[in-house]
Every structure is written in structure tokens, then in C-alpha cells.
């Protein structure tokens, strides 16, 4: 029980808005905020962020900052589309992974073997990836119908989808079952319907790729914390020269970490293509690699933390696809939340903080009252703004790997 209170106290930054959202969603025009459809797309949009975040986890645990995730993800989108076009959707998954991994290898060569500054190398990789994807696309799909310099042709076929029987109306053999959760959602009971909508969103129309991605989360925990190689990888991020003195191959571990990182980012890119429009499009990643990195910070360098962060940012991402009215409801959520923070700040005698949050909060509330719709251009950056806001309010004590971002040269005391 105490544990529960501690979690509530730690995570009030997420829990309060969540509760507010559920409350707001009771009003008819904002009901989209907690519909099963929204949660379904939230899950779909969380996966690329999750995979990118897990990629970042493997790299940063071995001590290499990976700003190049975005670029590796871009490679994943193109290779995923190409593999999908040539060999079907699962071919796309495989090639997305390989494409991202290749760029992970480049990052590893630069940062591990040549000790280039990690951020410099990452930035260079992001620039290279944009050009390379465009170049490959022109080369590979030259003259094929519906392909252009910025888009690939359509991938035929789809990765299978899956509904849970009884819970969300999946089939057993040939027989239809009832959708228990769907019925509860339609009953419109406070909180109960919202939770069953959440469960329905997470249990209906789940692609096998999604399941694969979600399985990587416990798998990462297992590999990093329960296997000898995982211990070696983590030790390299904490204390490389110490690890080396104990016979750990520091360079090899860093290479493995960064290449896995690229592979996951590549998977994230392939997911965007295969579970999205089924074509490669230039600019498809839209900063999700960086949002993945933010979810890694938010999740405090732990796989399940990354999952939570990705879920949050995926939810923000999903809202932009739903309805503009729903986003309007979010304004009042943000406004009320900021006012609550103001009250807390005042009670803690934090004058400067309370002025800031108070002003912002009233601004949001005023905005809510004086308009009926959030401009469409604002909806486009909801996930990015959410990322900034969440990171700035969830002032946690980050426990990052000690030597993350520090280039290590064999034989140096580091």
C-alpha cells in the first residue's frame, strides 16, 4: 500500500492529467479522448517511439549517446519499404532491421573505434540518412508506377492482425464471439467504460508486429539484467576501464550495444511504414527518433520506463489523428493541471514558480473559453510540445549510465 502511495506521489505529473482527461471525456464532444479507437491508435503510434527508445537504451547503457536514432529510423523506413516491396511485409521487417543496423554500425565505427564525439557523429548520421534514403529511393524505384523521389511504390500484403476472443470479438475457428469490452465501452459508465475502452484498444486489431515489439521490452530486461553479456554491456557504460581490467572486451560490447540500437531504430522505421501508409515517404519519421530518446530519459534508462514514456507520447500523437474537438478538451486539462500546480507552488512558497504556472494556466483556460477549435497547425506539434512539457515537469532524479557520452580509448583510465 505504501508502495502505491509512493508511486502516486512520484508520478502525479502523469496521473493527475490522466484523471482529468478521463473526467473531461465524460462530456459528449470530448468522448474521443478515451475511445477505444484513440487507444488503439495510441498503441500503434507508441510502438515506433518505444522501439526507438529501447534502441537508445541499449546504446546508452553501453555508454554511447545515440542522437543518430532518427537517421537510423529513416533508414528503417526506406529499407522496410524496399524489403516489403520485394519480399512482402515480413521481408520489410527484416530489411528495416538490417538497414537500421547498418547505420548503427557506422555510428559504432565512428564513436567506438575512432572516438568521435557521440553527438557530432549522430548529427552527421542524421544528415547522411536523409540524403541516402532519397538517393536509394530514386535508384531502386526509378520508373516504377506511383514511385517518386520522395515516395516508394505501395507494399502489397499486410502483417496479420489479431483480436482476442470474447474480450474484443475475435474469432475462434469460424465462430464469432461477443465483444465484452466493446459492450462495456458503449455502456458509458464513468471510469469503467474508459478503462474497458483502453483494454479494447489494446486487444483488438493488434498486428503481430506490435506483439513482437512489445515482447522486446521484457526481453531487454532479461538480456540486460539477467545474462552475463547484459552485465558486461552495462558495466561498460558505467566504468569502462574497470570492466576492461576484468577482461571485458569494451569495444565489442559497445559495438553490440550500438548495432542493436540501430536494429531497433530500423524496426521502428519499418513499423511506421508497414503499419502506416504501406509506403516509404520522405520525412515520415517526423522527429520520432528524438521523441524515443526523450522517452528513454523519461523512463530513466529502464525498459518498462521507456514503455510508459512511449505510451504517453504515443497517446499525444494519436490525438492529432482523431478529432480537433478532442484536442480542444486537452486545453482545459492542461489549464486545470497548471492551476493545480500553482496551488501546490503557493503552498510551498515557491513564488516564482507559481507566477509562471499561474500565468500559463490562465492563458490555457482563457484560450479554451475564447475559441471552439484548436488550429489544425497546432495539432501537428502536439506530440513534440507534450514531450517538452512532460520532460520539464517530470523533474526526476535521472540515474543515467555514469560514462555515457564519454569516448573511451583502450588503455586509458576512464
Amino acid at each position: 500500500m505504501n508502495e502505491l502511495f509512493r508511486i502516486i506521489k512520484d508520478k502525479y505529473v502523469i496521473l493527475t492529467p490522466l484523471f482529468l482527461i478521463i473526467f473531461i471525456a465524460q462530456f459528449e464532444q470530448y468522448s474521443q479522448l478515451t475511445s477505444s479507437g484513440t487507444f488503439g491508435s495510441a498503441l500503434r503510434l507508441s510502438i515506433p517511439i518505444l522501439l526507438a527508445g529501447l534502441g537508445g537504451l541499449f546504446s546508452e547503457r553501453t555508454g554511447v549517446v545515440n542522437i543518430g536514432l532518427e537517421g537510423m529510423m529513416i533508414m528503417g523506413t526506406w529499407f522496410g519499404a524496399w524489403g516489403g516491396y520485394m519480399y512482402g511485409p515480413w521481408g520489410g521487417v527484416l530489411f528495416g532491421l538490417i538497414g537500421g543496423g547498418l547505420f548503427g554500425l557506422i555510428h559504432a565505427i565512428a564513436t567506438v573505434s575512432f572516438q568521435v564525439d557521440h553527438i557530432v557523429s549522430g548529427v552527421a548520421i542524421n544528415i547522411l540518412a536523409v540524403g541516402a534514403a532519397r538517393f536509394f529511393n530514386i535508384l531502386a524505384f526509378d520508373g516504377i508506377a506511383f514511385a517518386s523521389s520522395t515516395a516508394s511504390p505501395r507494399i502489397e500484403g499486410e502483417i496479420g492482425k489479431f483480436n482476442f476472443p470474447y474480450l474484443s470479438g475475435g474469432k475462434i475457428g469460424e465462430n464469432e464471439t461477443t465483444s465484452l469490452l466493446g459492450n462495456i465501452e458503449n455502456a458509458d459508465i464513468f471510469l469503467v467504460s474508459d478503462i474497458s475502452a483502453l483494454l479494447l484498444g489494446f486487444t483488438s486489431n493488434i498486428s503481430y508486429f506490435t506483439i513482437l515489439a512489445l515482447l522486446i521490452v521484457p526481453l531487454s530486461v532479461f538480456v540486460l539484467w539477467r545474462t552475463p553479456i547484459g552485465l558486461q554491456m552495462r558495466s561498460v557504460g558505467e566504468y569502462p576501464s574497470g570492466s576492461e581490467s576484468l577482461g571485458v572486451n569494451v569495444y565489442l560490447m559497445k559495438y553490440i550495444g550500438v548495432i542493436i540500437s540501430g536494429c531497433f531504430a530500423g524496426l521502428a522505421g519499418a513499423y511506421l511504414v508497414l503499419e502506416g501508409p504501406n509506403v516509404y515517404l520522405q520525412g515520415q519519421t517526423n522527429g520520432r527518433g528524438f521523441i524515443g530518446l526523450a522517452s528513454l530519459l523519461f523512463g530513466n534508462y529502464r525498459p518498462f520506463g521507456v514503455l510508459m514514456g512511449a505510451g504517453l507520447f504515443g497517446f499525444a500523437d494519436a490525438l492529432q489523428l482523431r478529432s480537433e474537438e478532442a484536442i480542444q478538451g486537452l486545453l482545459v486539462v492542461v489549464g486545470v493541471f497548471l492551476i493545480m500546480l500553482t496551488i501546490r507552488n503557493i503552498s510551498q512558497r515557491n513564488i516564482r514558480g507559481s507566477i509562471g504556472t499561474g500565468l500559463l494556466g490562465s492563458l490555457f483556460l482563457f484560450w479554451f473559453m475564447s475559441s471552439t477549435q484548436v488550429p489544425i497547425q497546432f495539432i501537428y506539434f502536439t506530440p513534440h510540445l507534450t514531450t517538452l512539457v512532460v520532460l520539464s515537469f517530470s523533474k526526476q532524479k535521472f540515474r543515467m549510465p555514469k560514462k555515457v557520452g564519454v569516448p573511451y580509448k583502450k588503455g586509458e583510465l576512464n
Binding site: I67, I106, A110, F114, Q115, V116, D117, I119, V120, S121, V123, A124, I125, I127, L128, V130, G131, A132, R134, F135, I138, L139, S149, N286, G287, F290, L293, A294, L297, P375, Q377, F378, Y380, F381, H384, L385, T387, L388, L391, S392, K395, F398
Partner: protein
Amino acid sequence: MKIRLRLVSFSAPIIALGLAVGLTSLILLGIGKDPIETFRMMFEYGSTGKSLVSVLNRTIPLYISAIAVAVGFKMGLFNIGVEGQYLLGALLAAAIGTSFAIYRPIHIFLIMLIAVVASSTWAAIAGYLKVYKGIHEVISTIMLNYIGTGLIAYLLSTVFFDEDEKNAIPQTVELPESGRLPSLNNVVGIEDLPNLHGFLPIALLLGLIYYLLIWKTTLGFDLRVTGANPVAAKFSGVDPKRLTIIAMIISGAFAGLVGMGPLLGYFHQYTIDFPPGLGFAGIGVALLGRNHPLGMLLGAMLFGFLERSAQILDLRGVPKEIETMMSAFILLIVVVFYEIIRRYIVTQQIKDASKKVESST
């Protein structure tokens, strides 16, 4: 540093250029094109008078963008947000600059001032978030880029929309004659060529200002010390929080001027065609030029030249994106070689020093 070592340190960009040409040639061979013919075409097209003017026009914003990035780099601060900063600054400058018409130098100065204030305010947000909220500037500036793009799209299609124009393209009202910078063609005697933007001397002046700021002022010294060794800087009395915010603001101020060359010299209004990507390209130029005012100038000219000369390729059956690949190769190889050479120089210096010690005892 000894002259020999200095020469070695100049070799990195040359090696990188050579290797990038080699790699690009391999790719060209792989897709069945003749590399020598391709490079010859590029050089021939890129060195016509018309192209050279275009290269210089392109160099101006690239150079300023690189300076903006370099100010941050000097203290180990990564301002990836120059992109959003200069676009936002250019939009506000274009939109507000049309609302009055006064004596030309003052008008132009005010337009530049608006851009500088807007961009540095936008950059300061990232500084604030880093110092008080602990958000790494790479993440915050990237997110601010997306937010800025959204804001620009909104402002352009509502608040600053030019309603007199009955076309569907969102754009601001054109700047009055007094808010336009005349071209330099008459001054340098090239009347028969396309317009050479009048912002060129200002860009060179900014390079000088950057040099003086970083190497001749206390603030610049603090920036460099913090970049080289944050702990030592702190002990020498530098307030890292204050310095971070100041560096972001200065970086943003330079970023504000990135869009001024194209705006004052050619576009005279902010449209959706306003050249994007200069902020990201500037990062590459700063890396290539090692944050040095002359190095970055050469780097900006090189990238400007490559981009212009690649325009001919599509007409001759080679995808012009080969140029993007080549620029990226140059960048990736050059950062590796700078590191190799830095290490080589350090070991040489240690060797020289120990020799001196040995000979003196």
C-alpha cells in the same frame, strides 16, 4: 603549435574531400555512370559566372548559420535548433517589416533587429529548459523546431496572411522598396549576371564579429574554456548556467540573420517557398570548418558549390541526390579524421615535450 603539426591538421578536410570523391565515384560506377565525366560536368557547370553568383548567394546564409551553430559548439552546446530559429525570425521580420517605410538603412536595420530578437528569444527557451529543467538542448531544440514550424504555418495562414493577393499561397505582404537590400552587381561590375545578394558584406562582417567575440573577449574566453574543460571553467569563476543561456541567445541572434540574405536580397516576403534546411546544413559547415571563421567560410562555399553544380546532373541522367550523399560523406569522414589527427597531434606534442625534458637534463 609547430608548423609541421599545423600542416597536418589542415590535411583532414583535404583527405575527407578526397575520400568522399572516391566513395562517390564508387557509387557512380555501381549505378553505371562515368565518375570522371560526372565530376567534369559538375565542375564545368558550377564554374560559369551565373553559377558562381548563385554559389555566393547560397554561401551567405550557410555561413551565418554555421556561425550560429559554432557559437554553441565552442562551449560544447549543440544548438540543433538554428533551423526553427531562423525561419521564425525571418517570418516575423518579413511580416512586421512591411508595416512601415522609413529611410532605407534604418528600415533594414530594424528588420534585422526584429529577426535577431525573435530568433534569440526562441533559442533562449532551449537555454532556459536546459538550465532550469535539465532537458538536454539537442532534444529541446529539435522539439522547438517542430513547434516553430507549426507556429509558422499557423501565423502564415492566419495572422500574417496577405489578403490582397487573391492567390492560394500563404505569404506575407511584400516589403516596401526601402526594406530591400540592393544587389551588389553594380559595385563589383557584373551587370550581366543574376543578382548578387547585398547581404554578402554583412555576412563577412559577421564572420569578423564572431572571430572577435570568441577570441578577443572575456565572454568568448569563458565559452572556450567551458567547452574545453567545464570543471576547470567552473573553478575559474564561470557561472555555467548564465553562460549557457547567454550562449544560446547569441547563437540565436546569429541564427536570426540567416534568413536575412534571401529575405532582403531576393524574396522580399516570407512565402512557403522560403528556403528551408539552412539550419541543418549549417551544422555540417560548422563541423567541416572546425568552428573557425575562415574554415567555415571555405566550408560554406564548398557546400554551396556542390549544391549548385549538382543541378546539372538530373538533366544528364545522373540523380542529383548524389551530391547530398557526397556532402554527408565529407562530413562523416572529416569528423573521423579530425579526431584521428587531434590524437596524433597530442601524442606528437607529448613526444616533443619529453624530448625537451630529456635534452635539458
